[in-house]
Protein backbone atom coordinates (compact mmCIF):
# COMPACT_ATOMS: atom_id res chain seq x y z
CA UNK A 1 0.00 0.00 0.00
CA UNK A 2 1.33 3.39 -0.96
CA UNK A 3 1.78 6.23 1.49
CA UNK A 4 -0.82 8.35 -0.28
CA UNK A 5 -3.44 5.64 0.17
CA UNK A 6 -2.64 5.46 3.86
CA UNK A 7 -3.11 9.23 4.09
CA UNK A 8 -6.41 8.94 2.24
CA UNK A 9 -7.70 6.33 4.67
CA UNK A 10 -6.51 8.48 7.56
CA UNK A 11 -8.51 11.46 6.25
CA UNK A 12 -11.54 9.26 5.60
CA UNK A 13 -11.42 7.85 9.12
CA UNK A 14 -10.95 11.32 10.60
CA UNK A 15 -13.95 12.62 8.65
CA UNK A 16 -16.27 9.86 9.79
CA UNK A 17 -15.13 9.80 13.42
CA UNK A 18 -15.30 13.55 13.90
CA UNK A 19 -18.70 13.74 12.16
CA UNK A 20 -19.89 11.07 14.59
CA UNK A 21 -18.59 13.24 17.42
CA UNK A 22 -20.49 16.25 16.00
CA UNK A 23 -23.80 14.42 16.21
CA UNK A 24 -23.23 12.70 19.55
CA UNK A 25 -21.32 15.09 21.83
CA UNK A 26 -23.70 16.73 24.32
CA UNK A 27 -21.77 19.99 24.53
CA UNK A 28 -22.32 22.39 21.61
CA UNK A 29 -18.84 23.91 21.80
CA UNK A 30 -17.24 20.47 21.64
CA UNK A 31 -19.48 19.61 18.69
CA UNK A 32 -18.43 22.82 16.93
CA UNK A 33 -14.76 21.99 17.36
CA UNK A 34 -15.17 18.48 16.05
CA UNK A 35 -17.07 20.00 13.12
CA UNK A 36 -13.86 21.92 12.46
CA UNK A 37 -11.93 18.64 12.28
CA UNK A 38 -14.55 17.27 9.89
CA UNK A 39 -14.33 20.29 7.60
CA UNK A 40 -10.53 20.16 7.54
CA UNK A 41 -10.46 16.49 6.66
CA UNK A 42 -13.09 16.98 3.96
CA UNK A 43 -10.74 19.61 2.54
CA UNK A 44 -8.06 16.92 2.60
CA UNK A 45 -10.34 14.63 0.59
CA UNK A 46 -10.81 17.45 -1.95
CA UNK A 47 -7.05 17.54 -2.40
CA UNK A 48 -7.12 13.82 -3.18
CA UNK A 49 -9.78 14.58 -5.82
CA UNK A 50 -7.45 17.12 -7.50
CA UNK A 51 -9.60 20.05 -6.39
CA UNK A 52 -6.97 22.27 -4.82
CA UNK A 53 -8.88 25.55 -5.18
CA UNK A 54 -11.94 24.01 -3.54
CA UNK A 55 -9.87 22.67 -0.68
CA UNK A 56 -8.55 26.17 -0.01
CA UNK A 57 -12.05 27.63 -0.33
CA UNK A 58 -13.38 25.02 2.06
CA UNK A 59 -10.83 25.98 4.69
CA UNK A 60 -11.34 29.72 4.23
CA UNK A 61 -15.13 29.83 3.93
CA UNK A 62 -16.20 26.95 6.17
CA UNK A 63 -13.56 26.96 8.88
CA UNK A 64 -12.82 30.67 8.75
CA UNK A 65 -16.36 31.87 8.18
CA UNK A 66 -19.23 29.53 8.91
CA UNK A 67 -17.62 27.85 11.91
CA UNK A 68 -16.79 31.20 13.52
CA UNK A 69 -20.39 32.26 12.86
CA UNK A 70 -21.63 29.07 14.55
CA UNK A 71 -19.39 29.69 17.57
CA UNK A 72 -20.72 33.27 17.78
CA UNK A 73 -24.23 31.85 17.72
CA UNK A 74 -23.36 29.45 20.54
CA UNK A 75 -21.86 32.22 22.63
CA UNK A 76 -24.73 34.62 22.11
CA UNK A 77 -27.47 32.12 22.86
CA UNK A 78 -26.02 30.30 25.87
CA UNK A 79 -26.61 31.73 29.30
CA UNK A 80 -24.16 29.41 31.01
CA UNK A 81 -20.59 28.80 29.92
CA UNK A 82 -21.06 25.07 29.60
CA UNK A 83 -24.17 24.29 27.70
CA UNK A 84 -25.79 20.91 27.96
CA UNK A 85 -28.07 20.63 25.00
CA UNK A 86 -29.44 17.17 24.72
CA UNK A 87 -31.52 17.77 27.79
CA UNK A 88 -34.61 15.85 27.02
CA UNK A 89 -34.42 13.88 23.85
CA UNK A 90 -37.23 11.44 24.32
CA UNK A 91 -36.55 7.77 23.81
CA UNK A 92 -38.99 7.65 20.91
CA UNK A 93 -37.31 10.49 19.13
CA UNK A 94 -33.89 8.85 19.53
CA UNK A 95 -35.31 5.51 18.34
CA UNK A 96 -37.03 7.13 15.35
CA UNK A 97 -33.88 9.03 14.42
CA UNK A 98 -31.76 5.88 14.54
CA UNK A 99 -34.28 3.89 12.49
CA UNK A 100 -34.74 6.56 9.81
CA UNK A 101 -31.07 7.36 9.41
CA UNK A 102 -29.91 3.74 9.35
CA UNK A 103 -32.58 2.96 6.74
CA UNK A 104 -31.26 5.91 4.72
CA UNK A 105 -27.71 4.62 5.11
CA UNK A 106 -28.71 1.16 3.88
CA UNK A 107 -30.43 2.66 0.81
CA UNK A 108 -27.43 4.88 0.02
CA UNK A 109 -24.95 2.01 0.40
CA UNK A 110 -27.07 -0.24 -1.81
CA UNK A 111 -27.18 2.52 -4.44
CA UNK A 112 -23.43 3.04 -4.17
CA UNK A 113 -22.40 -0.56 -4.54
CA UNK A 114 -25.14 -1.91 -6.82
CA UNK A 115 -25.06 0.76 -9.51
CA UNK A 116 -22.74 0.00 -12.44
CA UNK A 117 -21.04 3.41 -12.53
CA UNK A 118 -19.79 4.50 -15.91
CA UNK A 119 -16.30 5.27 -14.63
CA UNK A 120 -13.21 6.27 -16.54
CA UNK A 121 -10.85 3.36 -17.06
CA UNK A 122 -7.83 5.54 -16.33
CA UNK A 123 -8.00 8.53 -13.99
CA UNK A 124 -5.33 11.04 -14.84
CA UNK A 125 -3.38 12.67 -12.05
CA UNK A 126 -2.16 16.09 -13.07
CA UNK A 127 -0.19 18.50 -10.99
CA UNK A 128 -1.72 21.56 -12.69
CA UNK A 129 -3.62 23.99 -10.53
CA UNK A 130 -7.36 24.21 -11.20
CA UNK A 131 -7.57 27.92 -10.35
CA UNK A 132 -6.98 29.05 -13.91
CA UNK A 133 -9.50 26.61 -15.40
CA UNK A 134 -12.17 27.56 -12.85
CA UNK A 135 -11.58 31.25 -13.48
CA UNK A 136 -11.85 30.85 -17.24
CA UNK A 137 -14.98 28.69 -16.93
CA UNK A 138 -16.70 31.19 -14.66
CA UNK A 139 -15.73 34.46 -16.28
CA UNK A 140 -15.47 33.54 -19.96
CA UNK A 141 -17.70 30.55 -20.47
CA UNK A 142 -21.15 29.41 -19.44
CA UNK A 143 -20.96 30.04 -15.69
CA UNK A 144 -20.98 33.85 -15.81
CA UNK A 145 -24.72 34.19 -15.17
CA UNK A 146 -24.79 31.75 -12.19
CA UNK A 147 -21.80 33.62 -10.79
CA UNK A 148 -23.67 36.94 -10.88
CA UNK A 149 -26.80 35.33 -9.44
CA UNK A 150 -24.71 33.92 -6.59
CA UNK A 151 -23.36 37.36 -5.79
CA UNK A 152 -26.91 38.78 -5.70
CA UNK A 153 -27.97 35.93 -3.40
CA UNK A 154 -25.10 36.77 -1.06
CA UNK A 155 -26.16 40.43 -1.03
CA UNK A 156 -29.78 39.46 -0.30
CA UNK A 157 -28.68 37.12 2.51
CA UNK A 158 -26.52 39.88 3.99
CA UNK A 159 -29.33 42.43 4.00
CA UNK A 160 -31.83 39.83 5.21
CA UNK A 161 -29.61 38.71 8.09
CA UNK A 162 -29.12 42.30 9.25
CA UNK A 163 -32.84 43.01 8.92
CA UNK A 164 -33.91 39.90 10.86
CA UNK A 165 -31.42 40.20 13.70
CA UNK A 166 -31.79 43.94 14.37
CA UNK A 167 -33.47 45.08 17.58
CA UNK A 168 -36.61 47.18 17.41
CA UNK A 169 -36.16 50.86 18.19
CA UNK A 170 -37.97 51.82 21.37
CA UNK A 171 -40.28 54.71 20.57
Amino acid sequence: MEVSELVFYLFALLTVVSALAVVTLPNVVHAAFSLMVTLFSVAGLYVFLQADFLAATQVIVYVGGILVLILFGVLMTSSKLVMQVNIEVSKWQMFGGIVVSSALLVVLLLLTFETPWNVLSEVVDSSDSTVEQIGIAILQKKFLLPFEVASIILLIALIGAVFISRTEEQE
Binding site: M1, I70, K141, L158
Partner: protein, 114 residues
Protein backbone atom coordinates in the same frame (compact mmCIF):
# COMPACT_ATOMS: atom_id res chain seq x y z
CA UNK B 1 -3.69 5.85 -5.79
CA UNK B 2 -5.23 3.50 -8.34
CA UNK B 3 -6.93 1.56 -5.58
CA UNK B 4 -9.01 4.52 -4.41
CA UNK B 5 -12.17 4.34 -6.48
CA UNK B 6 -15.40 6.27 -6.78
CA UNK B 7 -17.06 3.95 -4.28
CA UNK B 8 -14.69 5.00 -1.51
CA UNK B 9 -15.78 8.60 -1.82
CA UNK B 10 -19.45 7.66 -2.14
CA UNK B 11 -19.15 5.56 1.02
CA UNK B 12 -17.70 8.49 2.98
CA UNK B 13 -20.33 10.90 1.70
CA UNK B 14 -23.16 8.44 2.45
CA UNK B 15 -21.99 8.17 6.05
CA UNK B 16 -21.66 11.95 6.35
CA UNK B 17 -25.14 12.52 4.94
CA UNK B 18 -26.67 9.95 7.28
CA UNK B 19 -25.00 11.54 10.29
CA UNK B 20 -26.31 14.93 9.19
CA UNK B 21 -29.85 13.59 8.93
CA UNK B 22 -29.47 11.97 12.34
CA UNK B 23 -28.35 15.28 13.87
CA UNK B 24 -31.31 17.14 12.34
CA UNK B 25 -33.75 14.50 13.60
CA UNK B 26 -32.56 14.06 17.16
CA UNK B 27 -30.78 17.22 18.29
CA UNK B 28 -32.74 19.64 20.44
CA UNK B 29 -30.68 22.72 19.73
CA UNK B 30 -31.04 24.81 16.61
CA UNK B 31 -27.29 25.33 16.30
CA UNK B 32 -26.48 21.62 16.25
CA UNK B 33 -29.23 21.24 13.64
CA UNK B 34 -27.31 23.80 11.55
CA UNK B 35 -24.19 21.67 12.02
CA UNK B 36 -26.11 18.65 10.71
CA UNK B 37 -27.15 20.64 7.64
CA UNK B 38 -23.55 21.63 7.04
CA UNK B 39 -22.53 17.96 7.21
CA UNK B 40 -25.12 17.12 4.56
CA UNK B 41 -23.96 19.95 2.29
CA UNK B 42 -20.38 18.75 2.64
CA UNK B 43 -21.33 15.21 1.67
CA UNK B 44 -23.07 16.60 -1.44
CA UNK B 45 -19.89 18.48 -2.31
CA UNK B 46 -17.80 15.33 -2.01
CA UNK B 47 -20.24 13.62 -4.37
CA UNK B 48 -20.12 16.45 -6.92
CA UNK B 49 -16.33 16.46 -7.08
CA UNK B 50 -15.93 12.68 -6.97
CA UNK B 51 -18.42 12.14 -9.80
CA UNK B 52 -16.87 14.85 -11.93
CA UNK B 53 -13.47 13.24 -11.50
CA UNK B 54 -14.37 9.59 -12.03
CA UNK B 55 -17.36 9.48 -14.38
CA UNK B 56 -16.76 9.16 -18.12
CA UNK B 57 -17.76 12.42 -19.85
CA UNK B 58 -20.40 12.22 -22.60
CA UNK B 59 -18.96 11.46 -26.00
CA UNK B 60 -20.62 14.43 -27.67
CA UNK B 61 -18.31 16.98 -26.09
CA UNK B 62 -18.20 20.26 -27.95
CA UNK B 63 -14.68 21.54 -28.43
CA UNK B 64 -13.85 24.48 -26.21
CA UNK B 65 -16.50 23.66 -23.68
CA UNK B 66 -15.84 23.44 -19.94
CA UNK B 67 -14.46 20.03 -18.99
CA UNK B 68 -16.54 17.79 -16.76
CA UNK B 69 -14.01 17.84 -13.92
CA UNK B 70 -14.09 21.62 -13.71
CA UNK B 71 -17.88 21.72 -14.04
CA UNK B 72 -18.32 19.56 -10.95
CA UNK B 73 -15.92 21.72 -8.97
CA UNK B 74 -17.81 24.88 -9.94
CA UNK B 75 -21.07 23.29 -8.77
CA UNK B 76 -19.40 22.53 -5.43
CA UNK B 77 -18.21 26.14 -5.29
CA UNK B 78 -21.80 27.38 -5.67
CA UNK B 79 -22.90 24.98 -2.93
CA UNK B 80 -20.30 26.53 -0.62
CA UNK B 81 -21.58 30.03 -1.50
CA UNK B 82 -25.16 29.02 -0.73
CA UNK B 83 -24.07 27.35 2.53
CA UNK B 84 -22.46 30.61 3.64
CA UNK B 85 -25.59 32.62 2.83
CA UNK B 86 -27.79 30.03 4.53
CA UNK B 87 -25.68 29.98 7.71
CA UNK B 88 -25.83 33.77 7.99
CA UNK B 89 -29.63 33.88 7.69
CA UNK B 90 -30.04 30.84 9.96
CA UNK B 91 -28.02 32.45 12.75
CA UNK B 92 -29.88 35.74 12.39
CA UNK B 93 -33.16 33.85 12.80
CA UNK B 94 -31.75 31.96 15.81
CA UNK B 95 -30.70 35.22 17.48
CA UNK B 96 -34.08 36.77 16.95
CA UNK B 97 -35.82 33.61 18.25
CA UNK B 98 -33.58 33.58 21.31
CA UNK B 99 -34.47 37.18 22.07
CA UNK B 100 -38.17 36.37 21.80
CA UNK B 101 -38.37 32.99 23.56
CA UNK B 102 -35.16 32.88 25.60
CA UNK B 103 -34.51 29.41 24.19
CA UNK B 104 -33.39 27.90 20.90
CA UNK B 105 -34.91 24.47 21.33
CA UNK B 106 -37.23 23.81 18.37
CA UNK B 107 -39.73 22.21 20.75
CA UNK B 108 -40.33 25.40 22.68
CA UNK B 109 -40.73 27.73 19.74
CA UNK B 110 -44.39 27.02 19.14
CA UNK B 111 -46.34 30.27 19.07
CA UNK B 112 -47.35 32.17 15.98
CA UNK B 113 -48.10 35.83 15.63
CA UNK B 114 -51.75 36.64 15.20
Amino acid sequence: MANITLEHYLLISSILFTLGVFAVLTRRNAITILMGIELMLNSCNINFIAFSRFIKPPTTVVAGEVSLAIEGQIMALFVIVLAAAEAAVFLAIILSIYREFNSISPNEVNTLKG
